[in-house]
Subunit: 361 residues, 2 copies
DNA sequence: TTGAAAGCGCTAACAC
DNA sequence: GTGTTAGCGCTTTCAA
C-alpha cells in the first residue's frame, strides 16, 4: 500500500520528464494503468467514456507504450528477424521490400541482419535474434545447421527459409522453381539453334545452384545436345567470379556460342568479360541470365533473363510467418513459386541464326 | 524471504523447459544472479573460478540473456534504427552494408525500415523506433520535420542524417559533396569538347538534387557554355522518370550532345531511351551518371560516373552514432565525403571528338 | 467494466 | 568480490 503510494508520487514528480509511461497517462486520465493498457491494446472492452479520456491523455503526453516492457511481459515480441545472405544483391533487396511491406501493415518491426554468406555470422545473428526474443525469423540459410535450427524452433521461434531449400521439414519455406527456370532458359537457347551452350554455375553446395544446374542438364538432354563438361564452370555467385568464369570459357579452343549464367551478379561479370574481348552479343555469343534486374533493359542489347518473383517471395514468406504465428500448430508448408522467361535481345532470334548460317555456308 | 523461495522453486520446476533465464544459470553454477549478470556483461570483476563456472553453465543451458529485460532495466537498448528511403536503390544498399558492418562489430542490432520516400511512413517508423527504445536512428530524411525530430532528440534518441542534409543543426550528418561531384562530371564533358550538355535532374526539393543542379550550372558557367533551360529536365530519381526525361530531351529540335543524369536509377532509364532510338554512345550522345554502380562496367560502352562512397557513408554514420552514444554532449558534426569521377568510355575521349570534327568538316 | 497487484528477466545500488 | 533486492513499464489474472 505505502509502497504503491510512493511509487505514484515518484511518477508524479517525473511528469515533466521527457519519457512518458503508462502511469502518467493513467494519472492524467484518472484511471488505472490496467485500463490504459486495455485501451492501448484494444483487446478488452472499456467504456467509451474512459476510452476517450485515455486516448486524449495519450495524445497529449505523446505516449508510446514501451515495446521492451511489453514483450518482456508478454514473452512475445512484435518483431521479426530477417537474415539475408547478401544485401548488395538486388534480388534480396526486392525480397526485403516484400517482407517489409507485409510486416509494416501488420505492425511488426524488422530486425535486419546480413550474413554475407558466412555461416559464423549467420549463427551469431541467429543467436542475437533469439536473445532479442523475436517472434520469428525469415532467412536465407547459408548451410543447413540442423541441430541449431531445431533448438531455435524448440525455443518457440518460428523460422521461414527463403530462396534456398532448408533441407528439413520442420520449417516453412518459400523457394523458386529453379530447375524449371533453368530448363526454360536453356531450351530457349536450344530452340534458337544454339548447340554449344555453356553454363556459369554457382557454388556446388548451394541448393539454388544445384537445381539450376540440373535444369540446364535436363534441357541439354531433352534437346539432344552434347553436354560438354568443359563448358560448365563453377563459380561463386559474385561479379568477379562471373568475370573469370566467362574468361575461362572464352579462352577455350572451342568456346560456347551461347551461355547461361546462374545468377545476376555473375551475369554482370560475364558481360564485362565479353565486352573486353570485343565480342558481339548475340552474333558472336548469346547470353541468358538467371534473375531479371532493373538494368536488364538498359543493356545493349537488352538482356534475356529468367525473372524470379523476388518481391512475391518476400511477401509470401512474411505471410507464411504471420499465419504460423497465429496458429503454431499448422503443418509446415513448402511454397515453390514460378519463374518467368523474359525474352529480350541478348540471344538473338531464330531468323538471325538461320540467315547467319546461310551466309556462312 | 518466503516469496523468494517460492520463486526459486518455480524456477526449478521450469528447468526442463525450453527457455533458460538467469536464475537457471545461477542455480546450475551455484552463484547469485548478480554474478551471472556480471559475468555475462563482463562489466565487473568476478573471480576466474566463478567466471568459469558461470560460463560453463551458460553454455550447457544454451543461455542467452534476454534483451528486452536488459533494455527495459537499463533504459537503453543495444539497437539502432535505420530508415532508408529506397531499399531497392543499390546506393542505399551499400550504405546499409556499411552501417551493418560497424554495428555488428559493436554488438548492436539493426532495426530496419523502408520509408519509400513517403513522409507518412517515415513518421510511423520514427514513432515505432522510439517505442522500441532504440539507442539511435540513422535515416535519410524525406523532409525536414523539425518539431518531430526535436521531440525525438529530447526523448534521448540520437539521430544521424545521411545522404541528405537534415536542414538543422542539432543532429549529426553524413553527406556527399554533391555540388563538387556534379561540377566535375559536367566539366569532364565540357573538357571533352561537348557544348550542348543536358541535365536530367532529381526532384526540385530534395537537397541532393538541388546541389547537383547547382554544380552543373556552375560548371557550365565556368566553361563559358550556354545554359539552355530546355536541356534541364526535372524528374523523380526513378528509372521510368529517367526514361521519360531522356525521351523528352531526344525529341527536342536540338537535342543535347551529352547529358548528365542525376542518379543511378534515372541513368538506367535514360540508357534505355537512348538504345530505343538506336543512338550510338558516345558518338551520338555522351552520358555521365551520378552514382557508380556494379553494372557500370558491364555496359557497352562502360559508363562514366560519379562514384559516391556509399559504403563509407554507412560506416561513418554508424561511427558517428556510436561516438555520440558514448558522449551525448559532444558537439554535432556534419561530415561531407568526397565523390570520385570514374572515367570510362560513355563520354568518348577528346581524340575521338577532334577526329570526328575533322571528318565532319 | 474497472482496479489492484503480481511478476516477465534483467541490472545496479547497496550490503557484507 | 559476491549476494540481496528493488524496480524498469507493461500485461494479465483475480477481485470487486
Amino acid at each position: 500500500m505505502i509502497e504503491k503510494k510512493l511509487k505514484q508520487q515518484k511518477q508524479e514528480q517525473d511528469q515533466t520528464e521527457e519519457k512518458n509511461n503508462i502511469f502518467q497517462v493513467a494519472k492524467l486520465s484518472g484511471v488505472s494503468i490496467a485500463t490504459v493498457s486495455r485501451v492501448m491494446s484494444g483487446k478488452a472492452y472499456v467504456s467509451p467514456e474512459l476510452t476517450n479520456r485515455v486516448k486524449k491523455a495519450a495524445v497529449t503526453l505523446d505516449y508510446h507504450p514501451n515495446r521492451s516492457a511489453s514483450s518482456l511481459r508478454k514473452r512475445v515480441s512484435k518483431t521479426i528477424g530477417v537474415i539475408i545472405s547478401d544485401i548488395e544483391n538486388p534480388f534480396f533487396t526486392s525480397v526485403i521490400r516484400g517482407i517489409e511491406t507485409i510486416l509494416y501493415d501488420s505492425g511488426y518491426s524488422l530486425f535486419f541482419c546480413n550474413s554475407d554468406e558466412d555461416p559464423k555470422r549467420e549463427k551469431t545473428h541467429l543467436s542475437n535474434l533469439r536473445a532479442e526474443d523475436v517472434a520469428g525469423i525469415i532467412w536465407t540459410p547459408t548451410k543447413y545447421n540442423n541441430e541449431f535450427c531445431k533448438n531455435l524452433v524448440e525455443s518457440g521461434i518460428q523460422l521461414v527459409a527463403i530462396d534456398r531449400s532448408p533441407g528439413m521439414d520442420h520449417m516453412d519455406s518459400v523457394t523458386v522453381n529453379n530447375r524449371k527456370g533453368a530448363f526454360e532458359a536453356t531450351s530457349h537457347l536450344a530452340q534458337l539453334g544454339y548447340q554449344r551452350i555453356g553454363l556459369i554455375s554457382g557454388p556446388k553446395q548451394t541448393s539454388t545452384s544445384i537445381e539450376r544446374l540440373e535444369g540446364f542438364k535436363e534441357a541439354m538432354l531433352y534437346h539432344n545436345l552434347v553436354l560438354d563438361q568443359k563448358l560448365i564452370i563453377y563459380s561463386d555467385f559474385r561479379q568477379t567470379g562471373g568475370y573469370r568464369a566467362m574468361q575461362t570459357l572464352l579462352e577455350l579452343e572451342l568456346p560456347p556460342k551461347a551461355v547461361m549464367v546462374s545468377n545476376n551478379l555473375m551475369t554482370l561479370g560475364a558481360l564485362q568479360a565479353i565486352h573486353e574481348c570485343n565480342l558481339k552479343i548475340p552474333d558472336q555469343i548469346a547470353i541468358v541470365g538467371f534473375d531479371d534486374m532493373p538494368w536488364a533493359t538498359s543493356l545493349q542489347p537488352s538482356l534475356t533473363a529468367i525473372a524470379q518473383p523476388a518481391f512475391d517471395i518476400g511477401t509470401t514468406a512474411a505471410q507464411l510467418l504471420l499465419e504460423r504465428l497465429k496458429d503454431p500448430t499448422r503443418s509446415y508448408r513448402q511454397v515453390v513459386l514460378d519463374t518467368k522467361l523474359m525474352v529480350r535481345t541478348s540471344c538473338g532470334s531464330k531468323k538471325n541464326l538461320v540467315i547467319k548460317s546461310i551466309i556462312e555456308t
